[in-house]
Amino acid sequence: MPRWRRARPAEQPPAPLEPTDIALSPDDPLLGYLAGIAGPVPVDRIPIESPGVRALREAGISLVVPLVASGELVGLLNLGPRRSEREYSTDDRRLLQDLATHAAPAVRVAQLVREQESEALARQRIEQELHVARLIQQQFLPKELPDLPGWHVAAHYQPAREVGGDFYDFLELPDGQLGVVIGDVTDKGVPAALVMATTHSILRAEAARLVSPGDVLRRANALLIEEMPPHMFVTCLFAVLDPTSGRLRFANAGQDLPYLRTAEGVVELRATGMPLGLLPDMEYEEKEVFLEPGQEVLLHSDGVVEAHDRNREMFGFPRLKRLVAEPVTGGELIDLVLAELGRFTGPGWEQEDDITLVALARLPVTARSGPAVPDETVSLPGDARVLASFEVASEPGGERLVLPVLATAIEPLGLPKARRDALATAVAEAAMNAIEHGNDRRPELPVRLVVAATDTAVLVTVTDRAVNSVGEQDVEVPDLDAKLAGFQSPRGWGLFLMRELVDEVRTRDSAGGHTVELVLHRNGVPS
């Protein structure tokens, strides 16, 4: 042990300093100064004045030894006056500096260990809370899927590590109807799980009593507003399905809009309403659609479209909508979405939010067997006379080749020029859709056209092989303002033009393909 400790001066030494806590503000300029000097410094030679320097002086400190590890000031060794009342000698200072050099890394290690211990404790607490939240949440998820004849119902719930508050539910309602709930509580953890549990119970109670989706959400909002913690709310879609008729009534409290796949393409099921628990006395718009055989609805939580890839690009609605257009049902559609999401986010993705998907598919009535006969896909009224029946290859510009044949075929009908032009443009648009989309521009696949007339109307059918299901390209009603503002693609006029130019546009799907039927009334008023 160093001898200097034992050295006793002749006179009575000053009493040793009591250990004192000296609080230094992290932005005190003293700290920067001490971090930069190489060794011990007497307090009265510190060339700056600051609250820290004053505190040292008031505590009776005469020598400060900075403890610096890896250029970082990790502590100070503060010494009172030397008990001999002499100045600290050069040897003293060298010794102290040696001590500081060795002590500083040890102090730093001790500090890191302590920080890690407290972080680990905090993590453990969070994990525990997440575990509780997950338990609560999973308690309220349906244990099994409803079994409806003629329907395929599928659901998928995939919690994020930090549990985002998604929920879904199936409710048995009077007259064999099925209630379907999908929702999301803002916020995470136990508070969100508790709000979810409350919402779940309220919806179950009110749905059994009220059935009407708009009423159920209105009532749920009124009850939740009483109990909602601040800064929390619940988005929720409630739908009631009548499996016999295919009628789906729904109301929406701010949940992402479900997608419906129809023969004409994928559409959003829109109904307006504020999230639950935000404002009192809210009304919820109630809408309904009828699901035909072969149609399907996908309900989804925002964890899907808001998933990001490595470049922070969002998965987004258009991508999801395209997937819904694919001709797969129920669990297969959900698998498709999850697979695409996996491809999009890449390996090692940390899921940011809960992901919930619920698919309701009405199965086709009867599956047709045997090879498809193209002619079967075209059915004409009994009194129709076929004026022309022909095919064009699915090559770029093929729709232009249709026009002279059409013109010759309808020439005997003596239609006014405006009507002929309108029909020509509509047929060309239908043929172009068939070539580019239905037949996917595959030249070996023909587009079949039949031009026919009755006493009152001209009919043109355009049939493709439907290698692509009908996409979204023409589903959105084109709006020029939106297009000019960049909210819509400049394209997408085809189906719109057909509908505006002829009197009726009908579509039909069969095993042989997809048919668009254009009807122009012979004495119809020009549109």
């Binding site: 232009r400 020029k417 405006a418 172009m432 020029l480 085809g494 719109f496 033009l497």
Partner: protein, 117 residues
Amino acid sequence: MSPRFGIRIPRARVVVLDLSGDLRADAREDLEAAYADAAAREPQAVVLNLTEVEYMDSTGIALLVGLLARARRDGREISAYGLTDHYREIFAITRLSDFIHVYDDEPSALGNVPAGT
């Protein structure tokens, strides 16, 4: 390669684009080149001469929407003349005629362009 669509400057700060043939998706590059050529003259107004256009479909409409959006961003007025009744009808249906003034012929189109400054 010489451009498919020519441009003319009949008056100060007015450029006429002489379009012709089929106006469909595959005319995109030619139309963009013609507009770029026109825009380089810093015109106040761009007049589309559609007299020689034989055929136009929804993809051609899409090109015109794109052209219109660009011209509006550039602060240039767009007008057109030489449309058949059928394409006038299509301009009306799509509401293109709300944004592109349609005139019967070139003198009336030029006569309605605000005087150059």
